[in-house]
Symmetry: C2
Subunit: 220 residues, 2 copies
């Protein structure tokens, strides 16, 4: 029995090694990788995972507000792209290629659709008197398009929209961590920090972090 | 001993399951997939694999010509994109996104670099009196840019450049198979058919096929 188990495991292992270990030769074809991402979106899986994370964030905000101490200033930090604004129309038109000039033109138009479950987190926060900070790797030059887009999706009521300043040598992750520190030092308890990138969330300065799915790109 | 083996295998399997099995949730991030492709190119692996296939094609052409029967008309069929012309400069500028209008503008410029080992196959064929057919999924409207590019990489001496006609409902694979049949029926022995896509090669009508690596996209 043990022998048979070990053989089964060896077989399974061999299959996995063959199927998914780094090939010594050709990497995964990019059309195949893109199809997997499109399938993930079109099957509704993406939206369901976003919904699950957002539902948990809503619960957390409500529970934390319920035990708010007198005079405590509470805040939620939201990333923007693929967190509360979706860039899927642009990304799909670009076949998932990132071309800075065309990305900037898209951002300037301010027409990204809302990610509805996360807008619900925003609404919960505002309804309960929790301040909202939008903290994004978008650049200061993207402010007009970003303001327009946030207003268009009904998220125009926030404490601050913080974009990456020009000429910084910080990674987006470093910039975001330093900004959350500054927000906390100004007297806010960041009760939730929500984003699709690891760089939105790592580095501390938040009571809870909420990681949305993000198979489209990586921002460091 | 068997017990320990099975436990080790179970552990290894768990690591692989965690590390690389298809997640029930999020697909491979596209930045990660692109990085693997760029690494494959920049490490020189891509070029080495192209070289290995092209070397074998050169040998095949030479050997086949050596046993050519009197009066026999020999031909080699070449795909173009990622076979003898590289589009890597454009693909990398596009972050591997395919945007038809921008792709067409790139093709019109006719500035794609040569894939040197495959140009060597072309030279071998011409030197030995073997006719060359370029058979491509590029459209008839791409003819001027394609002619310019073939001339620029020193591959202007060919029997025919066959592009996809306008308004066809055929897949590229169907179009290519039908064209190779037509070439053979006109009296040529296609001694080698070389391309980066499965759709370049499947469907028959060639004595030998040569599959170049092609992790960038899939053409059906």
């Amino acid at each position: 029995m043990i022998r048979r188990l070990s053989l089964t495991l060896a077989g399974a292992l061999a299959v996995f090694l063959a199927g998914c270990a780094t090939p010594t030769t050709e990497p995964l074809n990019l059309t195949t990788a893109k199809k997997a991402v499109v399938g993930y979106v079109e099957s509704g899986q993406y939206e369901r995972q976003v919904q699950a994370v957002a539902t948990e964030a809503v619960r957390t905000v409500e529970a934390r507000v319920a035990r708010r101490r007198a005079g405590e200033k509470l805040a939620v930090v939201f990333d923007i792209d693929e967190t509360i604004i979706s860039n899927l129309p642009h990304m799909r038109a670009m076949d998932f290629g990132y071309v800075p000039k065309l990305w900037d033109a898209w951002v300037d138009r301010g027409e990204g659709p809302a990610i509805a479950p996360v807008v619900e987190v925003y609404r919960t926060a505002r309804r309960l008197g929790v301040e909202v900070f939008f903290l994004t790797g978008r650049h200061e030059s993207d402010r007009p398009g970003t303001l327009k887009n946030l207003a268009a999706i009904g998220c125009g009521d926030f404490r601050e929209l913080i974009l990456k300043p020009p000429g910084t040598s910080q990674t987006t992750g470093e910039f975001k961590t330093a900004t959350r520190r500054r927000i906390m030092e100004s007297g806010y308890a960041i009760i939730a920090n929500i984003g699709d990138q690891v760089s939105d969330l790592e580095g501390g300065f938040a009571e809870r972090t909420f990681k949305l799915p993000g198979p489209f790109y990586i921002v460091q």
